[in-house]
């Protein structure tokens, strides 16, 4: 599918107000592969539970004899694939994990014919059923992997507010100096003012690449509001508004932030999606929290680089991530 076509579909998707099935029907001629994936997911879980709870009965039914521990392990695998499919995150990958599982099951069925208590006729029936399921899995894997739900980056729309213990003048002044933004916006590498109203943004994307755009200030009311948006010919449609509101009784400034990103299809869009990851709201919250810390305390609280004893593997992985 061409990038251009994909982005048209992305717009259609947005216009459909999140009604995934209607878009999918348009693309796939009536076959809803989300529902298919859900059905396979539930089937997978049902089979997995049976394998875990009644491995002997099931073993006899499919003619492989009594191998309860093998069947229980296979049950765990089925449940994982099923949960993965139902979660709808990387559904394509999970569907393909089922195909790999089908291949494994076929190999095991083949091996089981050598077993003493094997029942060849039943094994043949089980293998036939399995081939049918495998065909469905392959179909579903191909559909889901090419589904626009995975390749078109979602629109990012975040609103968040925080109270900062400083006057609206101070907070507005800090933000209006756009070159301060990288101090608290983790993914923004630099913002340089190109004139009084326009600025050039460089945003870090995974893999050492960057995404750049030009923005202009469209609303600027001192100590009250600042709004900006990308210039019309930018690759990314991004707009933001910050409202600075005096909190009651001298309790500082309530800062209300609203950010929109409408990434296009294609490479740039995918990069923007990766910048925001699974939790764009949390990232904006973190950014605004850093702004508060900088204005109130002059620094951002951290434990990066502090001393610690020998870490376990789990600790290294977790602490290398979000927890500090």
């Amino acid at each position: 599918m061409a990038a251009e076509q994909r982005s048209v579909e992305a717009v259609q998707y947005r216009e459909s107000n999140g009604e995934r099935s209607s878009l999918l029907e348009r693309i796939n001629g009536g076959i809803d592969d989300r529902q298919l994936a859900q059905a396979i997911g539930w089937f997978s879980i049902g089979l997995g539970v049976t394998e875990i709870l009644a491995p002997r009965t099931l073993g006899r039914a499919i003619g492989v004899g009594e191998h309860p521990s093998v069947l229980r392990l296979l049950g765990v695998r089925e449940i994982m694939s099923g949960l993965g499919l139902l979660s709808e995150r990387k559904a394509g990958t999970w569907a393909w994990s089922r195909v790999a599982g089908d291949a494994m099951d076929l190999a095991l069925l083949g091996a089981a014919t050598q077993s003493e208590d094997a029942h060849p006729q039943r094994i043949a029936m089980a293998a036939t059923a399995l081939l049918g399921v495998a065909a469905l899995d392959v179909y579903s894997g191909r559909k889901l992997a090419s589904s626009p739900l995975e390749t078109v980056p979602p629109r990012v729309h975040v609103t968040h507010s925080i109270t900062i213990n400083a006057s609206p003048d101070t907070v507005y002044g800090f933000w209006r100096n756009l070159e301060n933004l990288p101090l608290f916006m983790r993914h923004v590498e630099s913002v340089s003012a190109t004139n009084d109203k326009t600025s050039h943004w460089v945003v870090r994307a995974p893999g050492g690449t960057t995404v750049e755009w030009d923005a202009e200030i469209v609303e600027d009311r001192e100590a009250e509001q600042l709004s900006w948006r990308t210039l019309p010919d930018s690759e990314v449609l991004h707009e933001g508004t910050v409202i600075f509101e005096a909190a009651p009784a001298g309790r500082g400034t309530i800062v209300r932030v609203e950010l929109n990103y409408e990434p296009p299809g294609g490479l740039v869009g995918r990069q923007i999606a990766k910048v925001f990851g699974q939790e764009p709201e949390q990232q904006v919250k973190d950014d605004v929290r850093r702004l508060k810390q900088l204005i109130e305390t002059g620094e951002v609280a951290t434990t990066d680089g502090q001393s610690h004893g020998a870490r376990s593997l789990l600790g290294r992985t977790t602490l290398g991530g979000r927890l500090s």
Binding site: T163, N165, R251, G252, Q282, K285, D286, R289, K292, Q293, E296, T297, G298, E299, V300, A301, T302, T303, D304, G305, Q306, S307, H308, G309, A310, R311, S312, L314, G315, T318, L319, R322, L323, S324
Partner: protein
Amino acid sequence: MRAVCWHGIGEVTVEDVADPCVLNPRDAVVRVTSTAICGSDLHLYNGYVPTMYRGDILGHEFMGEVVEVGPGVTNLAVGDRVVVPFPISCGNCFYCERELYSLCENSNPNAPYAEKMWGHSPAGVFGYSHLLGGYAGGQAEYVRVPFADVGPVKVPDGLSDEQVLFLGDILPTGYMAAENCGITEGDTIAVWGAGPVGLLAAACARLLGAGKVIVIDRFPERLDKARTAGADALNYEDVDIPDALKDLTGGRGPDACIDAVGMEAHGHGTPGFYDRAKQALRLESDRPTALREAILNVRNGGTVSVPGVYGGFIDKVPFGSVVNRSLTIRSGQTHVQRYTRPLLAKIEAGDIDPSFIVTHRMSLEEAPRAYEMFKHKQDQCVKVVLTPNVH
């Protein structure tokens, strides 16, 4: 440097780790001269506080000498002798301005996680889990102290480490527990738990004018210390606590009750078994025996003050008693910075000497044995002070 590191339930080791350094402008580095094991460290040791990771440096009650200051710290100099409060507080935010230091909005780098657990995040704390910031603690030869221009209090050379060390946690904690009782003349205060915080809460309740203070525990040596602090002592293995408290207060009940026990209360009878079972099944994170008793025994309209540490969720709390008898519950991690200077003045004036609780003085290298001893209250252990070896 050498540091006491957490490595799992019931496992601490003393390890060589990198020396700390200044990471932010308002940091200082302190060379630790004395550091204590707090009763709340036992909750970490026993695995009841989530988000501890192997290799975390423990300790939130420590003092020493400033050896390095960041460019943002102008009120401390290298060589100053300081006690460091356990909450890390910026001094600039809404809460710090209102002297609610343990609620600092700017010191917990892991605030999003605390928000998921508790709704909003409190301040960061030294050596007390990643939910509270994941800061390296002070059971070590050196420690990094963030916002060093706010927390550390300089102490005069004339006072010994043991006299001032507890300004960092348990003395202010005992004081705030007593203050939260709103003591007026003639009040009777009952304290559950004769550990270090309970003992100091009892002493502070006397200081704040309580007519009678009653301390409840089961270890004779701890009850002896309570008597030293000017309190009556009740052993709950010998007497029926509700009867005894009514008896001692003319039938009305104590004006305020302090739960200085917290999440790992020693339960007894069916409720004790119930809590242990639920905690083991992770259906309840804390065992609130002392809290239940404090609520049921306080007089009508009285106050329950809770310095004991709770981390998560508790069951079978008689909230009907709170509502129908107009009780007030007050709690909080201690706003230590609010109390350090006034309490230092009281120590200097000789009004209070918290060193009476110390029973064991050991080297930092002996920390694993010290934890074990403190946990099992072996050798009549009430409070351990550790001293790093090499300086």
